[in-house]
Amino acid sequence: MSEASSYNAFYTILKRDLILAFRTRTEMVNPLLFFIIVISLFPLAVSPDPKVLQSLAPGVIWVAALLATLLSLDSMFRSDFDDGALEQMLLSVHPVSVLVLGKVLAHWLVTGIPLLILAPLLAVLMHMPSDSIPALMATLALGGPILSLVGAIGVALTVGLRRGGVLLSLLILPLYIPVLIFAANAVSNAAAGLAIAGQLYFLGALLALALTLTPVATAAALRISLR
């Protein structure tokens, strides 16, 4: 019975956050535009030469995805914190980590999936060989949720602060480094025709670790921030 109700709580939070996101569509689009603009700056700043762009592409797309996620993270708990809904969630009978997981999943569906869908388009803009596009999609599918999960800890720690944004990047970006390394490396390897299974397995392992541990840390951080 209690398991079923926890699941219901998870599902309700997920549905609520998706509806909220859908009703504020413009906010949802901003990180995506940021993602596209940052990437289109590189040919302008570095060189429009396809060879140069090709070698930069995996790193540039991944760094841009990282920054776009970072930008969108702030909205994860902000409005709930401002209107008091977050306090009610902490007071509810359900484990906070389950509710957090629902919110994180909603965040990934709203920001991670559009990034995933846009990525092939940007890969073409960056002259990436078409063989490496499935690898890019795979790394974004595995790595994107990690970014949302780990980011949630940082947002939970800084949600009560007035100027949390810059601090958030200082807290979270170092923790993103393993994901960045493995994902960008997998995409480069795919472009060079090398095997990428190892990197994908590693990303999968990181995802499993993040999925199990970060909701607990986020819940603890929320309890501290809302004291």
Partner: protein
């Protein structure tokens, strides 16, 4: 043992006890540092490949060890503060952060000074250098978060969560970076068989490491005592101490 642990949690007890230890720690730091520097810089033989420039390891290696050690102390103190709500553990964690960051910077600076004549460049994107740099970012994030939260208790708990997340992440970061790119030489001291170092070079290194440990202890105690006086300024014993 448990009684001692509980007593240590009382700021007043810690203050008097650390006051007794402080001169000893300071004296030992001074003696060990002088001994280690003299041994390392004058007595120890020059390296057959690197000549005299290798002598920077007597600062570099202990600093690098300390940068990790202090992070572990910080995270453990944070965990103790989070679990048992010990005030002193929070103070130890927050006072350790700037010291750890300083050790990290020292390791990075001495490393790059050594790298110029040896590798021909101040900085390479090598695994160990990069993970040391990331460690510095983790320290700075910790200090930034602490400075951003007004309430000391909340700040300490939030930082403790951050430090614990960092502790889980440090091995992952370290291995992913190592796997990514490596130029730095392998470990020469912590081997199962004989260390790959001349004993005459190793002993001053270990002496310097002890000196760094005592230096950390000394400055940690000084910082903690200062912080305790500030936090407990409204209590009777501090007022008594000041008016004395």
């Amino acid at each position: 043992m448990w009684l001692f642990f509980h007593k240590l949690g009382s700021p007043r007890y810690f203050y008097t006890l650390s006051g007794k230890f402080l001169p000893w720690f300071g004296g030992l730091t001074l003696i060990l540092m002088l001994l280690g520097s003299y041994w390392g810089l004058v007595i120890a033989p020059a390296d057959y490949q690197q000549g005299d420039s290798y002598r920077i390891i007597y600062i570099h290696v202990p600093a690098a060890w300390m940068s990790l050690f202090v992070y572990i102390v910080m995270a453990s103190a944070g965990a103790i503060g989070l679990i048992w709500k010990m005030k002193m553990a929070d103070v130890v964690a927050s006072c350790s952060a700037p010291l750890g960051a300083a050790f990290t910077i020292l390791a990075l600076v001495t490393g790059s000074l050594w790298g110029k004549p040896m590798w021909g460049t101040y900085w390479v994107w090598d695994a160990r250098l990069t993970s040391e740099l990331i460690l510095l970012f983790l320290y700075l994030g910790f200090m930034g978060l602490e400075a951003a939260i007004d309430d000391k208790r909340t700040a300490a708990n939030a930082c403790a969560v951050l430090a614990l997340v960092g502790v889980v992440n440090i091995p992952i970061i370290h291995y992913s970076v190592e796997w990514w790119n490596t130029l730095h030489q392998g470990s020469t001291v912590a081997r199962m068989d004989k260390p790959a170092m001349d004993v005459n070079m190793l002993i001053p290194l270990l002496i310097m490491w002890l000196a760094f440990m005592f230096y950390y202890g000394t400055s940690l105690f000084m910082r903690v005592r200062n912080e305790v006086l500030q936090r407990e300024r409204d209590t009777a014993w501090v007022k008594e101490l000041v008016t004395e």
